[in-house]
Amino acid sequence: MSSKTAIISSFIEAAPPGELSNVVADIKTLVGDDLQSYEPAFRKYHEEQYTAVDVPGGSGKVLLSQYNSLGSNRYFDPTSGKSFAVSFPSLKTSDAESHSPATSNLDLIQSLQTAFSKSTIEHFPSSTIGVFPTGSDIAILIVANKYSPQNFWNGRWRSTYILSDSGKLSGTIKVDVHYYEDGNVRMQTEKE
């Protein structure tokens, strides 16, 4: 039987789209713990689910992911050229600094970001894009969420593409749908 921390962390990481606050409220009622101790679980959840946060002092939103993480809860945004701190679980951003990512592809990254933001409007009613360098490759991330808790359903689409140095593009699409009217139905798919 795993430890309490492992169990609670697994609950946080398995929360359905749009329902993290409900899961957290339930956990609090059950164990009454201070949630700060589960910071790693929250960080993992947000990085895996591509949660979008406001860039402090900036005008846009930026995704949180493993690709733009600088460690110690700091993340960077190539579009605005800033890095900033994020605190979990509150997701408040602060301490913006100018930051130049160590990559030779900065122009390509910025133009990809603009291009994708324009074209995804044609298919995604609401989405956030993230283009980040990863090693010598470029990661292109798309996350689209639709929450309808009054109708008892929520969904999230996550696309992750890696554009390699040699120009090869590969990726995975993950869709997570939760429907919970008089029941609990969850669909999770992964397609390469």
Binding site: D26, T29, L30, V31, F124, Y179, G183
Partner: protein
């Protein structure tokens, strides 16, 4: 601050249903005082056991359990055997056992007709007023596309004083687990449970006890059949229809600007028709 039991139930409704069994065990380990309440109110996939006396399989649930022993509906014995004093209270006899035997026989036929396989079991017990029961059916299939169906139909029956009819309350839950892994689709996991209720007054034919008992069994069988068919269709609609709708809302297949254009011209036509005189 809401009640911990409600919080536990809410949590189980949000976490992936394919892991309900493990999540239930986890929650019990962090909140052990909720164990009894949770085990009796949360539906989990049913376990199958083989009855040593009759050699037939039967399903295990909270209603035929005593500690770690389960009662087989075929032999009416607990396996492993329990204390005879407890057995005197828990093992049904007389009218209840007769109905239970008949119910198991009819559900067995029903199962073969609709499921062509699987395992079924039914358990009845006396209440202060009337009696209650549960009808369970389980079927799994494996391979590249794996699936599991568990249905739990809980009855509460109160006979009218005239004994000409009875009031049946049925709460049915179907737990359906589907998984597919191949090159075309990638990985797909679709799991969940749905619960529906039904309350009905049905007539009881005959005057002798045996006839009334048969009537109960027939009425219960009919209700289970109707409810499971309803749930089967609802599952199709909800699992596939709703999931497809949500994915469509997340990312449309056709260009959104085209769809918007079509909507606008449609609106124009409608408003023009409204203005015309007939």
């Amino acid at each position: 601050m809401s009640d911990p039991f409600d919080a536990a139930l809410d949590l189980l409704r949000r976490l992936p249903p394919s892991q309900t069994q493990q999540n239930l065990a986890s929650i019990i380990s962090i909140a052990p005082n909720l164990e009894d309440d949770l085990l009796s109110s949360v539906d989990v996939g049913l376990a199958v056991k083989r009855c040593p006396k009759s050699g037939r399989d039967y399903l295990c649930c909270d209603y035929n359990r005593d500690g770690t022993s389960y009662r087989s509906p075929w032999s009416n014995d607990f396996d492993p055997p329990i204390d005879p004093d407890d057995a005197a209270d828990l093992v049904p006899r007389g009218k209840i056992r007769r109905m239970e035997e008949e119910l198991n026989k009819s559900i067995d036929v029903y199962r073969e007709l609709y499921y062509e396989g699987g395992v079924s079991s039914a358990y009845l017990w006396q209440l202060d007023e009337g009696f209650a029961g549960v009808v369970l059916v389980k079927k799994s299939s494996g391979g590249a596309g794996k699936g599991g169906w568990d249905s739990i139909n809980v009855f509460e029956i109160i006979e009218a004083t005239s004994k000409r009819s009875a009031h049946y309350k049925l709460t049915s839950t179907v737990i359906l687990d589907l998984g597919l892994r191949n090159d075309a689709v990638g990985g797909l996991e679709l799991a969940g449970n749905l619960t529906r209720q039904e309350e009905l007054d049905q007539p009881l034919a005959g005057l002798r006890d045996a006839e009334i008992e048969s009537s109960h069994v027939a009425n219960m069988g009919r209700m289970v059949e109707a409810m499971e068919t309803r749930l089967r269709n609802l599952l199709q609609e909800v699992y596939f229809g709703k999931a497809k709708d949500v994915v469509g809302d997340l990312r449309s297949i056709r260009l959104l600007s085209e769809a918007e254009q079509e909507r606008r011209s449609h609106k124009e036509v409608i408003s023009k028709m409204g203005g015309a005189t007939i």
